[in-house]
Each structure stands twice: as C-alpha cells, then as structure tokens.
Symmetry: none
Subunit: 208 residues, 4 copies
C-alpha cells in the first residue's frame, strides 16, 4: 500500500478518463525504492532510513521519493505493507487454526526486519497524527486474518455468539506485541501455544 497523493478514489469501475496528463510515474522506480528502503531498514533500523542514502542507492533523486511518500514514516509503513501475509488456515478447528495462523505470523516476523521498523513507527506516532492513522490502518489489515479465524469459530459454535472479538484479539495479540516491542523477549511457538490455550480456556464453549 503506497501513499500516492492521488489515490483512494475507491474502486472506480472501468476508469474512463484515468489517463492523466504528463509523464506517468515510474512503477519500476517505486519498486526499487521500496526494495532499497527495506534493505536499509534491515541493516540499521529506522535511523538508517536516510533519504540521501536511499536516493543514492536507488539511483534516483530525493524529489522522486518525496513525490510518493511525504516522510520517512510513510515510507516505512509502505515497506511494512510489503511484508507477506500468512496463509489463512481453515481446518475446521479453532485451536488448530489459531496456532497455525499465529505460528505463521511470528515466523514471518522473526525472520524479517520488521520489528525494529515497527518499534520506530510507534515512536513516530507521537509526533505525526497522520502517520498514526496510516499505522492503524496497517494494523487493522494485519488483524483482519485473525478476525476471520475467530468469526469462523463463532460460526462453528466454538465461541459464544456474543464474544467480544475485539477484546479477544487484544488478549491474543497483546502478549506477542508486548514481547516484540517492549521487552524484546523471543517469541516462539510455545509462547503462542500458551496464549491460544489461555484464550480458549477463557472463552471457548467446549475447551476440547
């Protein structure tokens, strides 16, 4: 998800006058910038995401970057959105689905450089409300997979119909984020399993 200034008009079907005047922006450059930005972030975290260095390594000019993303934060959010999403499991069992989904998520996080990036972005929230919104959107998107799994659990009768899904998600996601972002403690499969157990114990109708 990039932050082009001219987007978000929302699903215009059969875009008739979509052809804008002037030279179109280069998609290739956009990809290169995101790739290089990801590399820089992986190498040295948010602090290393330096527009001068980025421009030099992407062989483009700073203006070309600023034309697309108005700040380091926006760019970092965009690289975050490039992260792969884990496969959505659907095995017919809530416990199984949760373990698989969360296992996939932490596998992706553990072997990417996304954690320091997220930490830095949280630091930027304080100064840039627009970035905060962007970040919320990104978070929401990431939570959507979890919401789907839980909704299926409700449909299957594994969770009560009146379950407060938002709270349940906080309960599941919170401890993971706490380790990733605050304490820096390792997040492993067993930790996730314990969380799933605790959540199901608290909420599930038939704790198997």
């Amino acid at each position: 998800m990039t932050t082009r200034d001219s987007d978000g008009r929302g699903a215009a079907p059969a875009e008739p006058t979509r052809r804008v005047r002037g030279r179109p922006r280069s998609d290739e450059i956009e990809g290169t910038i995101l790739k290089v930005a990801g590399e820089l972030l992986a190498e040295g975290g948010f602090a290393a995401l330096n527009f001068d260095a980025l421009a030099a390594r992407a062989r483009c000019s700073k203006a070309t970057i600023y034309r697309r993303w108005t700040s380091k934060g926006h760019l970092a959010v965009a690289t975050l959105a490039e992260l792969p999403d884990p496969a959505l499991p659907d095995r017919g069992d809530l416990r199984e689905d949760l373990r698989e989904l969360l296992g996939g998520v932490i596998a992706i996080f553990n072997q990417s450089s996304a954690i320091p990036v997220m930490q830095s972005l949280i630091g930027e929230r304080a100064r840039d409300p627009e970035l905060a919104d962007l970040l919320n959107l990104a978070f929401q998107a990431k939570r959507e997979g979890l919401a789907n799994v839980l909704r299926r659990g409700v449909a299957r009768g594994e969770l009560p119909a009146e379950t407060d899904l938002e709270f349940l998600m906080d309960l599941i996601v919170g401890p993971i984020l706490c380790r990733y972002l605050c304490t820096g403690a390792p997040v492993v499969e067993e930790f996730v399993d314990e969380i799933v157990e605790a959540a199901l114990t608290s909420f599930a109708l038939r704790p198997s």
Copy 2:
C-alpha cells in the same frame, strides 16, 4: 532515579573524604531539568525534547545536562522514572488486588503524558542498545508490583504453585500495552476488569 556517571553510592562506608575537589553539582538544577524535560515531552513528545530548548528553558547550559544524562533517551527514561508508583494493594484476594493495582496504574498513565514518551522510547530501542537495557530495567521495576501481587496469590493458594508468572504477566500487561502503544484505543476500568477475569479463568484454582 537519575543516571549519574559517578554513581556507586552505598559502597563507601563512613564517607569522610567525600568532599570532592571543585564545585559540587547543584541538586536544584537537576530537579529543574527533569521538570522542564517533562513539560517538553508533554507538549510535543520526544521530538520536542530538544537539548537547546531544554537548556534555555531550564536556564542552564547543555553541558550541565550532558554531565548528568548522556543522551536524550537517558533523560527521557529518567523522566519516566519520576512517574508515581501506584499503592501496592493487599486485601487478601487476588482478584481485588489485581483490579486495584491495574486500576491505579492506568489512572496514572491516563492522566500523565507518559504514553507518547514510552512510544518514543520504544522507537529509540531500535537504535540504541544501551537505552534498550535501561528501558528494560524501568519496565522490570514497573512489573515488580504486579509480580508481588501474583506471588501473594500463589502463597494464598489462589494460583497453582507452578504458575509461569512471567507468562501470566505478559498475558495481563500485553493487552494494555497493545492499546496504549499500538492502537491508541482508550484503556478504561472495564477493559482491565475483563483482562483480570480472563487471566483468572485461565489460571486460578478457584475462579471464585
């Protein structure tokens, strides 16, 4: 808790020659700096904690600040440590104690400007490992109260003796931090109560 470089208090018994050469440091200035730093942080977050501005408002020189705290991060951690600690409840009931303790904590956080400061500090973790350690210490200190309450619950037989307290604390603290730091959602009494209920449902021997 400041981070004087020449700490080591408590070691020298009967400090007779404690009188060092030269002019002694002014305690008054130290308090002023912390106060002003807190104001700046409250006004504009970590970004507003600018040493030039701070020196000007505290009517001291930058050197005087650096002599005490070696970086912005250290200073911010110090202001965080100035936050009051909630009273440690001990009513003989785990549920009551947890609700009171956590309620006190969120009351303090909700009416201070500590949240953006913590967000910023998490952002700094990525760049400064030394700061990360400092921050961990500060976190640990804050968790100590919770650990005490839980330990008393174990002693009273409300929790199994083999309970993984670290995990339980992650389970309790995680959702709160998740809201404070990531989603920015409000943290109210009801939310805390739900967390306590869920935690006790999962772990308590007699869920009352």
Copy 3:
C-alpha cells in the same frame, strides 16, 4: 533577436523548400514567452526568471521554452534585444549628435528594467563563455550607433582622422556603465553632457 537553433536567415535566397515537415512553431507563444520573461525580470531580476514559473505564467511547457532558448542567459539576452534602439541623430554637429544619442539611450534605460537584467547577465559571463559571446554581440550592436555618430564626426573633420574610436567609445560609455552597473548612481542628462564635453575637450580639433 532570438536565438533559434535553426537560424540561418539571410542565407537561403528565395527559400523554396523552407517548409519543414511537422507542426510549425507558434509565433504567438514566442512573443508571450518573451513578454512574460521581461515581466519576471522586471519584478525580481535574473533570479526570478524561473523556467517553471515562466512556463506557468506563459501557459506553455518548459520544453517549448527550451526549444527556443537553450538557457536562462540566452533568454535574458533575447529580452534585452527587445529593447528599442534610440533614433540615430544626424544634425551635422558632433556635440549635438552625441548629446542626443546618449540622451536617448539613457532615457530608454532609465525607464526600462534593463539594468538589473544587464547586471545579472554580467554575472553569468563568468560561468558561461557562450553567453559571454552572445552578450558581446549585443553590446557591439548597441555601440554601433555611437560608432556611426563618431565616424561622421571624423568625416566632417570634427575629430582627427587617426582617432582611436574604440578608446573614445570606452571613454564615453565607461562612466555611464560604471554608474549603471557598479555604483547604482543615477544617470541624468547633465552627467551625459559632462561626459561629452570631456570627450570633445580631449579629442575634438575645434572644441567649438
């Protein structure tokens, strides 16, 4: 005098196949650009002659300008060449002719915005030798009128045949340029008259 790249006027006699393929350049735009360029120069000097702003105000594209003038300097020289030339006097008396010619010149300069433009162009000489040549041509053209008047003075016997006209022109033009370009002092009729007197005193055979 513009600086079309496809100049070569005057050479081809009876240009039969002069008609090139493709859409011909718009003369109207050319005039508009020169007009707007003159306005910009008058408003803020050479620095204000900004191709982006110029294109916007002339409602044309930058490419259209660059197609005609290869640089800011060339364009500025072109606007300078748009200045009117004073009438060439021929009253049969050198003193009279000089006073009239020079009076006409300073009248034009005083009420145009050409001075800051010339100053800026002199500044560009240092960096762009090609522009320097262009500027020399423009200067030469402006001096030609003066040369004619002086040559008629020689022909009438008012000046010695062996007079170094180049030097005499420097002597006459120098003080005026000195004021216009260096000191910024006002250039009025009396000043010109004094120069003419001094020049004739030094060079004329019969100082009337």
Copy 4:
C-alpha cells in the same frame, strides 16, 4: 573586512567588558574559510563558491560559515576585501601619481581572480539590496586612494579647486571597469595612460 554580526562598535578605547561569554569564534577558521573561498572563486568563479564544497575543503561545518557570512555574496565581498591595496604614490606630480596608482591597481586585478568575482557580485546586486550596500562600501574604499591622489592634485594647483572629483573619478574608472566587466577586453598600461591623458587634457590647469 568581514561581516560579523556583532561588530562595528567602532574603536572603543580600552574595551573594558569586551570579553563576551562563551567560546569565542576561531580566527584561524575564519582565515581558512576566506582562503579556501578565494581558491574556489579562482578555480571556477562564483558558481564554484559552493558552501558544501567550501565546508569540506576548509574542514569546518556549513553552520560555521553561515554564522559569519549570511550568503555567498557576503562571503565573496569579504574575499574581495582581502585583495591587497596598491601603494599610494606621492611624487608631487599628478600625471605620475595617477599612472602609478592605476598601474598598480590593474596589475593587482590582472593577476588575481577578482574580475569574475566582481562580475558575479554585480549580478547579485540585483537580487540582494543588502549586498548592494556592502558592495558600494567596498567600491568606495577602493576609490579612496584615487580620491586622495586627486585631492593632492587640487592642493598643488594642478586641478581647479572647483573640480567635480566624483565625476572625474567616474571618467577615469569607468573605461577600465567597462573593459573588465562588460567587454572583457584586456586592460594594459597603455590603456591607462591614454585615460590619464584624456582626463588631464579635459581638467588640468597646466596640461604639462
């Protein structure tokens, strides 16, 4: 003559509280900057006077330069002021004195890189009125030597008491500047001698 923001208090005798607080500005750096600036100007004219390059070559930071001179123009004027002044001749004869003084001046100019610098500065006059004032002061200072020689000529009776010295100076200096700045023609001893001859023919009481 530098352009320190805090100067011009004018000849306070026995400056008592002249000692300002804080670290004093480094004279050494100031000299280095001026030297390097002169080199850059000599190498590539005003366009090469690039603050980044200058800072790199002078091994100082841009802020240190900006602290002293607020723009390229100011800095260039300062390097101009570093030019040596010719010896003030006083042989008791106006013609001799003028030839020697002007010969000295053109010798200095011809073997320095001051001409393109002056051209560029004239270009900047148009945009920066403050610089224009600075430049006028510098010009005035340079003219002072000539004014002294002429005043002595008046005192000796070689020039009429009522001579308009300002005009006479324009007459002498104008042609030289014209060549240096506008036409780029060489300025040699013979040219200066001709000017002196012409000026004396027009103004001197006893044209020797």
